[in-house]
């Protein structure tokens, strides 16, 4: 097989496979346990306090980081997007900062959320500070037993 033909074949297979995989990633609204991962944060991680909680610029910096890295999936006002759930749901807003930081660091790789440890630790805390500053939005999906852990 000639290289250009092989290359085209490879591209076609890749597009088909990735399309199929993307199709499997259902809309987050169809997943009742979308926030369950927050409850899996280890106790030590949950108890970590945000070192930038009182930094006056942390939320503003976090907003820019959110726009750059998170808004694509979670929506520009964090109210949920095509790929990611609302981060203004009570499950997130009432979760400890340490649990959100842990989730950002580890991602939910099997469910499509990448790890964000690429961002230095202070930037992840700035993101957490921004998310916490948003507060609970009125419209959010119903809480489930698994996701209603503190």
């Amino acid at each position: 097989m000639k290289p250009p033909v092989f290359a085209l074949l490879v591209c076609a297979v890749l597009l088909a496979v990735s399309g199929a995989l993307a199709n499997e990633q259902k809309n987050w609204k169809d997943k009742p346990d979308v926030y369950a991962e927050l409850g899996k944060a280890p106790e030590k991680a949950r108890n970590r306090a945000n070192p930038l909680a009182h930094d006056p610029e942390a939320a503003a910096a976090g907003r820019l980081l959110f726009e750059d890295h998170c808004a694509e999936c979670h929506g520009h006002n964090a109210g949920g997007g095509k790929k990611g759930p609302s981060l203004r749901a009570p499950e997130v807003q009432n979760a400890p900062s340490g649990a959100i930081f842990w989730l950002l660091t580890n991602g939910v790789v099997r469910k499509g959320m990448p790890v964000w440890s690429r961002l230095p630790e202070p930037q992840r805390w700035q993101l957490v500070r921004y998310l916490k500053s948003l507060g609970i939005a009125e419209a959010s999906p119903p809480a489930t037993e698994a996701s209603s852990k503190p």
Partner: protein
């Protein structure tokens, strides 16, 4: 030859035009050219990258090799990438070297002290390849002396496996790549390594959007080289390089990289200057799906 050069320019132009009219976000790319860390492409995003290497050649003509990468995040645990390589040897010719298809898989769900990534690559290239991106076995400077007219007749189909180990501690990324490569004809397994250390100049983000903020710059250093083959494993007759590197992640979504590299022994090219430009296209997979009529 002119056709290849024109095609490269056309591809570059297309990339620039296309890249400026689509959604993208500020990337957070590492400065590495050779070493891989454990961060994969975000799902459904496509990163288009152009890289160049200028290399000196003792006893022969200097060269400029260049390649384009299309890196796609199939899932959060699988990134697939397609390369097209070409090179110009001064006072000789410009030739298309071939293509590579690589896949990186993340086996573990969570972050650990050391994060492994499995890398599998298939290469279909000719002997003119001078990207010096995968230095393995006894790849030494003297092998690059032959004119393109001769080396282009050599056809190589190779499989490359890498174990990528990477850690991020207090803003520092430390990556180690253990490389093995097998020419699918009757040749032995060859081995190599790549090491990289990098860190953003500032760990905190600025509260204002800015191009020249320290957090946008990531500086580091890479070291890479060959480790012989199955029958002669070790440092004898191998080439090694040390290369400081810097990446500038612009708020517009573009990333620029620069890396001067220095050969560490007489088997190495004395100087390699690498540079690159890349841009991430958000939700490329979704765009393709919508193009094909699927609901997003």
């Amino acid at each position: 030859m002119r056709l290849v050069r024109c095609s490269s320019f056309a591809l570059g132009l297309l990339f620039l035009t296309f890249g400026t009219s689509i959604r993208s976000s500020s990337a957070q790319e590492s400065p590495y050219f050779v070493t891989y860390d454990h961060y994969l492409e975000e799902p459904r995003n496509l990163e288009v990258e152009y890289f160049s290497t200028f290399g000196t050649q003792r006893g022969g003509n200097n060269f400029h090799s260049y390649w384009t990468e299309f890196e796609y995040g199939a899932t959060a645990w699988w990134t697939t990438e397609f390369y097209l390589d070409a090179q110009t040897t001064f006072h000789d010719s410009t030739v298309f070297s071939g293509f590579k298809w690589e896949n990186r898989f993340r086996p573990l769900q969570h972050e650990h002290w050391i994060n492994p990534i499995i890398y599998v690559e298939y290469e279909d290239i000719n002997g003119t390849d001078k990207t010096l991106k995968d230095i393995v076995g006894h790849d030494v400077e003297a092998e690059f002396l032959e004119p393109n007219a001769e080396t282009r007749r050599e056809h190589k189909r190779e499989v490359e496996l890498k174990l990528i180990l990477s850690s991020t501690v207090k803003g520092w990324n430390i990556s180690e790549n253990i490389i093995s490569e097998k020419n699918l004809s009757n040749e032995p397994w060859e081995f190599g390594y790549a090491l990289g250390v990098s860190r953003p100049l500032s760990l905190k983000a600025s509260a204002k959007r800015c191009s020249f903020c320290r957090q946008n710059f990531v500086a580091g250093v890479e070291m890479y080289g060959g480790l012989g083959d199955r029958y002669s494993f070790g440092l004898k007759d191998t080439a090694h390089y040390l290369a400081p590197a810097v990446a500038w992640n612009l708020p517009s979504g573009w990333t620029l990289r620069l890396s001067p590299g220095f050969g560490l022994n007489d088997n190495s090219h004395q100087f390699l200057l690498r540079w690159g430009v890349s841009r991430e296209i958000n939700d490329f997979g979704g765009m393709v799906r919508r193009l094909l009529g699927a609901k997003s």
